[in-house]
C-alpha cells in the first residue's frame, strides 16, 4: 500500500508518474517518517529496560516480525484483512463527519453500542435461520450506532453543544452502559465472569481462510456505497456543501442543522457497523471488557485518507496490517504492541505538520491536497 516513492520528481515532467507522486507524496513520506521515528523509539526504549545488551538491529527485527505477521503467508494476510475491517467502517464514519465539517470523536462509543445492539439481537435470534439472523443483527448494530451518533448531532444542531466534547462523553457513557448490561440483564446465569450468550446463527460466515468473515466484504462494499453517497447523490452534495461553507449552503436553500443531525447519525451508524463486524465476525459474544482502540485508530485512518471513502481502504489496510503484525513483533522482539499506538499517533501528527513537510518536499505536493480535511469553520463554533 505504501510503496517506495519511485516516481520521477523532475518539475518539468507532467506525466502520470508525477501525478501519482503528487497524490502519494504526503502519505508515503509521513508513513516513512513514522516508521523511522518508531525505530528511534525502539532504540531509546532499549535503554529504558536495564539488563539487556543493546542491539542496534532490534528495530529491523521488530519491523521484520511486524511485516511477517501482517503479510507473511495466507493466515497472516487474512488476519490483516480481519483487523482492517472495523477500521474501514470506522474510517468511513469519521471521514463522513469530516466531509460535513463535523468531528466525530465518538466512533469508540458508537463502536461499542453498535456491538451491543448486534449482540442483543444476535443472541435473541441465535436459533433463527442465518438468512434472518445475520441481517437483523447487523441492522441492530447499525441502528444502535446511529442512535449514539444522533444524540451529539441533535444537541449540536439544537443547542450548539460542540460534538467533540459531547461525543467523548458519549464514549464514556457507552463503556458504562456496556458494563451494566453485560454484567446485568445480558449475563449468562451462573457464569463466573460476565459474558453474554453466543450469537449462534447470527455469526458472520467464514469466507476466506481460517477466520476471514463476511464483514470484510461488507466493509469494502460500504466504502463503495459511501463514495457513491457522497459524490453521486444530492444528499452527499449537501453534506459536502455544508462542510465547505455552512452559511453559503443555507443561502442556497439547504438546511445545515438537518444535515448535521443526519450526518452524525449516519456516521454513528457506520461506526456501529465497525462494532457489529467485530462482534458477529470475530468474538461472537461479549464480555464486560469488550472494546478495542478501533475508535481512535479510525481518526488516524480518516486523516490519512483525507476523508476520501475509497482511499480509506488502503489507509485502513496500513493500520490493519500493523495491528495484525504487532503480536508477532511482541513475541520476536519483546516490543509491546502499544508501539502501534505510537505509530498511529505520529502519522497524523506529521500530516498536520504537512505545511512544513511540503516545504521540504518542494512543489511535489499541490497545496490543495496536503491539508487536513476538517473545515476551519468547525473550530470557530466551539462550545456554547
Amino acid at each position: 500500500m505504501s510503496g517506495s516513492p519511485s516516481a520521477d520528481r523532475e518539475p518539468g515532467t507532467r506525466g502520470l508518474l508525477s501525478r501519482i507522486w503528487s497524490v502519494l507524496a504526503l502519505p508515503v513520506t509521513v508513513t516513512v517518517l513514522a516508521v523511522l521515528l518508531g525505530a528511534a523509539i525502539i532504540l531509546v526504549s532499549e535503554l529504558l529496560v536495564p539488563g539487556k545488551t543493546f542491539d542496534w538491529f532490534l528495530p529491523l527485527t521488530a519491523y521484520g516480525a511486524l511485516v511477517e505477521g501482517a503479510v507473511g503467508g495466507p493466515d497472516a494476510i487474512v488476519s490483516t484483512l480481519v483487523n482492517t475491517t472495523p477500521l474501514v467502517f470506522g474510517g468511513l464514519a469519521v471521514g463522513f463527519g469530516f466531509k460535513a465539517g463535523l468531528f466525530n470523536i465518538g466512533a469508540q462509543g458508537q463502536f461499542l453500542v453498535g456491538a451491543l445492539g448486534a449482540v442483543i439481537v444476535g443472541v435473541w435470534l441465535a436459533d433463527a435461520p442465518a438468512v434472518v439472523a445475520i441481517p437483523a443483527s447487523a441492522l441492530a448494530g447499525f441502528i444502535a450506532g446511529g442512535l449514539w451518533g444522533f444524540v451529539p448531532g441533535f444537541l449540536k444542531a439544537v443547542s450548539g453543544a460542540h460534538e467533540v466534547v459531547s461525543t467523548i462523553m458519549m464514549n464514556y457513557i457507552a463503556v458504562q452502559l456496556l458494563a451494566a448490561l453485560v454484567s446485568g440483564p445480558l449475563k449468562v446465569p451462573r457464569s463466573p465472569s460476565p459474558i453474554t450468550y453466543d450469537v449462534g446463527n447470527a455469526a458472520f460466515p467464514i469466507l476466506l481462510g481460517r477466520n476471514g468473515h463476511l464483514g470484510i466484504l461488507l466493509a469494502f462494499l460500504a466504502a463503495l456505497f459511501v463514495w457513491w453517497l457522497l459524490f453521486r447523490t444530492t444528499w452527499g452534495f449537501e453534506v459536502r456543501a455544508v462542510g465547505a461553507n455552512p452559511d453559503a449552503s443555507r443561502y442556497a436553500g439547504m438546511r445545515p442543522r438537518l444535515i448535521t443531525i443526519a450526518t452524525m447519525t449516519f456516521s454513528g451508524a457506520l461506526a456501529g457497523l465497525a462494532g457489529t463486524s467485530v462482534l458477529l465476525g470475530v468474538t461472537h459474544s461479549m464480555t464486560s471488557s469488550f472494546g478495542t482502540t478501533v475508535g481512535f485508530d479510525s481518526i488516524a485512518v480518516a486523516l490519512l485518507a483525507r476523508s476520501h471513502p475509497l482511499v480509506t481502504i488502503p489507509a485502513a489496510l496500513l493500520f490493519g496490517a500493523m495491528r495484525a503484525g504487532a503480536g508477532l513483533m511482541q513475541i520476536r522482539a519483546q516490543i509491546p504492541v502499544e508501539l502501534v499506538d505510537v505509530l498511529q499517533a505520529v502519522i497524523p501528527l506529521f500530516l498536520v505538520a504537512s505545511p512544513v513537510l511540503r516545504r521540504v518536499l518542494g512543489a511535489a505536493a499541490p497545496a490543495g491536497i496536503g491539508g487536513v480535511p476538517a473545515s476551519r469553520g468547525l473550530a470557530t463554533k466551539v462550545a456554547a
Binding site: I41, S45, L48, V49, P50, F103, I105, V151, P152, L155, V158, S159, G160, A161, H162, V164, V165, S166, I168, M169, M170, Y172, I173, Q176, L177, A179, A180, S183, G184, F296, I299, A300, L303, P336, E338, L339, D341, V342, L343, Q344, A345, V346, P348, L349, V352, A353, P355, V356, V372, A374, R376, L378, A379, T380, K381, V382, A383, A384
Partner: protein
C-alpha cells in the same frame, strides 16, 4: 416537635418526600466528604483554568486531556527514577513536599509546557485546525504513555511516592458550621491547596491586570488588538504555554498526589469534563472552579451511593439503578451542561480562529 420527627414527617410525604430525602442526603454527605470533593475538583479546576487561559486568548485546546496524561506519566516515571537516589525517608520534607517529589512536579510541568508549545505551534504558527491538533495530542499522549508504561512495568518498578495531605489542627475542623469548610480547603495535599491560590490569582490577573486585558482583547478581536500594538501571536503562545503549567499540575496531581502510581488512560476524561466546567463557568477562573466543585460533588456521590446508599425510598430508587450507570453520571452531566440546559454562555469572539498578520502595505 423535635427535629428528627420533623424530618420523618417530611421524608414520609409521597413523591415530594424523595426531594426532601435527597436534600437531607446532600446535607449529610457534603460536609463529611468535603476534603474529598475539593480533592476531586483539583485536576478539573486546574485543567479548566488551562482552558480559560487558552480560549480567552483565542486558542481552543482540546488536548488538555493528553497534556495531563503525559504530565501524570512524567511525574510518576521521574519519581520511579529519582526516588532511589535520595533513599528513604526522602530528605527536606516541608508540608509533605520532598525534594524528589518537587523534581517530579517540575518535570511534569515542563513536559506539559512542551506539549502546549506543540499545540501552540500547530494551531498558531501552522494555522492548522485546532481541534485536530488537540485530538492528535490526545491520541499521541495515550499511545506514548501506554507504550512506555508497558516497557517500564516489565522492570516492576518501586513506587514513585506521593505528596502527603496536610492535616489541619482539630480545633479548627471541629468548629461548628465552618469547620467542614476549613477541613475542605486545608486537609489537602500541596497541589490541591495551591490550586485555590492559583485560581484566585488567575481571576485577579485576568480581570485586573494589563496582561489580562490584553489577553481578553486578543481573544475578542485580535485585529484591533494588533493595531494598538499588542503582539497577538506572542501573547497567544505565552498564554497557551502558561495554561500548560496548570494542566501539568493537574496531571501530576493524578499520579503523585491522589495516587502514587500510573495507569494507562488514568485521566478518564477529566480534561474534557474540565472544558465543560470552563464553559459552565463562563470562561472565568472562579466560575470554572465552582463548576469543577459541582462535578466533583457528582463524582463523589456516584462513589458514595455504592458504598453507603441513602435510606428510605431514595435509597431504594438509587439502588435499583445499576452501579455502572452512576459512574456515567459526571459524563451525562457534562453533556447536559454543554447542551446549554444551565443557560447559554458565550465564548470569546475569536475563539478557535487562527490569526494571520496583515501584510505590510
Amino acid at each position: 416537635m423535635d427535629v428528627t420527627s420533623l424530618f420523618d414527617a417530611l421524608y414520609g410525604i409521597p413523591i415530594v418526600g424523595i426531594l426532601f430525602q435527597a436534600v437531607g442526603f446532600l446535607v449529610q454527605v457534603i460536609p463529611s466528604n468535603s476534603p474529598n470533593i475539593m480533592n476531586q475538583a483539583t485536576p478539573l479546576a486546574l485543567a479548566a483554568l488551562c482552558g480559560v487561559l487558552c480560549e480567552r486568548s483565542g486558542v481552543v485546546n482540546i488536548g488538555i486531556e493528553g497534556t495531563m496524561l503525559a504530565a501524570a506519566f512524567t511525574a510518576w516515571v521521574v519519581g520511579v527514577a529519582v526516588n532511589p537516589m535520595f533513599g528513604s525517608p526522602a530528605p527536606g520534607e516541608v508540608f509533605g513536599l520532598t525534594i524528589p517529589l518537587v523534581i517530579c512536579l517540575v518535570m511534569a510541568v515542563l513536559v506539559a509546557v512542551l506539549i502546549s508549545w506543540l499545540h501552540a505551534w500547530i494551531s498558531i504558527s501552522l494555522r492548522a485546525d485546532q481541534i485536530i491538533s488537540g485530538t492528535i495530542i490526545n491520541i499521541a499522549a495515550f499511545g506514548v504513555t501506554g507504550y512506555l508504561d508497558q516497557l517500564i512495568s516489565k522492570t516492576s518498578p518501586a513506587g514513585a511516592g506521593s505528596f502527603a495531605a496536610f492535616r489541619p489542627p482539630t480545633f479548627l475542623t471541629d468548629l461548628p458550621v465552618v469547620g467542614w469548610l476549613i477541613d475542605m480547603f486545608l486537609h489537602q495535599g500541596p497541589i490541591a491547596m495551591s490550586s485555590i491560590v492559583i485560581i484566585i490569582g488567575a481571576q485577579v490577573w485576568l480581570f485586573r491586570s494589563r496582561w489580562g486585558l490584553r489577553t481578553r482583547a486578543v481573544g475578542e478581536h485580535p485585529r484591533a488588538a494588533e493595531t494598538v500594538g499588542i503582539d497577538v501571536i506572542r501573547l497567544r503562545y505565552r498564554n497557551v504555554m502558561l495554561g500548560g503549567v496548570f494542566a501539568g499540575l493537574g496531571g501530576a496531581w493524578l499520579s503523585i498526589e491522589a495516587t502514587n502510581s500510573f495507569q494507562t488512560g488514568m485521566t478518564t476524561g477529566r480534561g474534557f469534563i474540565a472544558l465543560a466546567a470552563m464553559i459552565m463557568g463562563r470562561w472565568t477562573p472562579i466560575g470554572a472552579f465552582g463548576s469543577a466543585l459541582l462535578f466533583a460533588l457528582f463524582l463523589q456521590i456516584s462513589q458514595l451511593i455504592k458504598i453507603a446508599p441513602p435510606t428510605g425510598d431514595l435509597g431504594t430508587i438509587m439502588g435499583s439503578v445499576p452501579a455502572q450507570l452512576w459512574d456515567a453520571l459526571p459524563y451525562i452531566l457534562t453533556i447536559v451542561i454543554l447542551a446549554g440546559v444551565v443557560g447559554r454562555s458565550i465564548p470569546p469572539a475569536a475563539d478557535g480562529q487562527p490569526y494571520e498578520r496583515e501584510a505590510a502595505a
